[in-house]
Symmetry: C2
DNA sequence: TAATCATTCAATTTATATCTTGAATGATTG
DNA sequence: CAATCATTCAAGATATAAATTGAATGATTA
């Protein structure tokens, strides 16, 4: 058979192989939130700096991340192209097919959010009416790198202390890092248990940004 | 951080890792054409039977393929769920981002088919008019397992001997195994060189089938 | 029931990835 | 220009994956 086909498969396999590591997937998630230094990424993932650097360089070869120098640090960001789409396809397949993953997801927060998420379009439309509060439950540093305009930042761990800031008279829409981030699921569960009207936003911030909607930084 | 997230990433990574081998991607392509025995798949890929079996079992654990016994043989077929979508996303990302793959594709058959492929919808619409010939350039055994209704089967290697069966007065639409199969590209190139009016069908047979359109077996 | 065939299993070798360690590089700061 | 800091490189140790071999299994056929 044509060796051309084999060459193409080898390219595809190489790219797939790069996604075949939980640490690298985690790194991709973090850089998709915004630019991060190697040291920060090492902290977030719990890897050594050298090891983090090696993973990042591998990802860079595959185009999944890009790097730029800023002073003495190197900042990594998400690469170009349909990377989030690829990850979403992987996630979608995993969700439908892997009994284990369905079990994990189901056990921990499956029943807590059977309600359909709010689509980005729906949220945008309701923003003008002012009858909705957007809640960003990511850590503060991620929030400050960029967030949905007008969103209120209350990291998940501090939710209890900030209950008074949340409205009881209209709906809250919570979001986090993306479709396979659990922060917003947990926030929804916690707030519902206290009687708030709250739903999740479809996907998370990276997808909001990728869809071309306005963002705000602080 | 939550170990739940880590568990999910490990699941995703495991599934991605399974796609991280050119041989396994090739196996998935072959089983997506229709059921195949281990021996046949070993022949097609050039691997030993034992090795093929091991790869198939790995893919089975990930749900990418399914197996059933038929007499003394075991027949493998494509698994459930959005597998082709996942591969398409990988392919799409690769095409946009990997300079190497773009080069390979460009060098060998890039210029031969800058013309846009015929969409499935367009082809369906034109079928009734009878002014189009559908050409399936896959090997005979794949054709007999299932094909687009009304298609004419001329495997690529036998194209020259069957030129007389092809119409010169209206358009030919060629298809093969999918978006990253080169058979139809080569068929289009060969026929155009002889003055035929020919275009490629969007993607290939597995996608046609997956999209829910009617198929025919013989 | 013995012989045959296709597939799988188990054990080994070979090849690749991953992580760790310590040194080298490149940019900034005193 | 030396000191410092963040990152990368290079080498080796460990772990994991792939391919090979020959034997075991499970179903069919003589």
């Amino acid at each position: 058979m044509s060796s051309l086909k084999v060459q193409i498969y080898e390219q595809l396999a190489e790219l797939a192989k790069m996604l075949g590591s939980a640490h690298r997937l985690e790194l991709i998630e973090y850089v998709s939130q915004g630019e991060r230094s190697v040291e920060r990424l090492a902290e977030l993932t719990g890897l050594t700096v050298a090891n983090t650097s090696q993973h990042l360089q591998l990802l860079r070869r595959g185009g999944y991340v890009r790097a730029r120098r800023d002073g003495k640090r190197v900042l990594y960001r998400l690469g170009e192209g349909p990377i989030l789409e690829l990850l979403a396809a992987l996630h979608c397949y995993a969700e439908r097919n892997s009994a284990e993953i369905r079990e994990i997801v189901g056990d921990y927060f499956g029943k807590l959010d059977h309600l359909e998420p709010v689509t980005r379009e729906e949220l945008l439309g309701r923003l003008d009416d002012g009858d909705v509060t957007i809640l960003d439950v990511r850590p503060e540093d991620e929030f400050s790198l960029g967030h949905v305009p007008g969103a209120l930042n209350v990291p998940l761990g501090e939710l209890e202390q900030h209950l008074s800031e949340l409205p009881r008279n209209h709906e809250i829409v919570a979001y986090c890092r993306g479709p396979y981030c659990i922060l917003s699921f947990e926030a929804v569960a916690a707030l519902r248990a206290r009687g708030y009207r709250v739903r999740r936003l479809q996907d998370g911030f990276p997808e909001w940004k990728a869809a071309g909607y306005a963002i705000e930084a602080s």
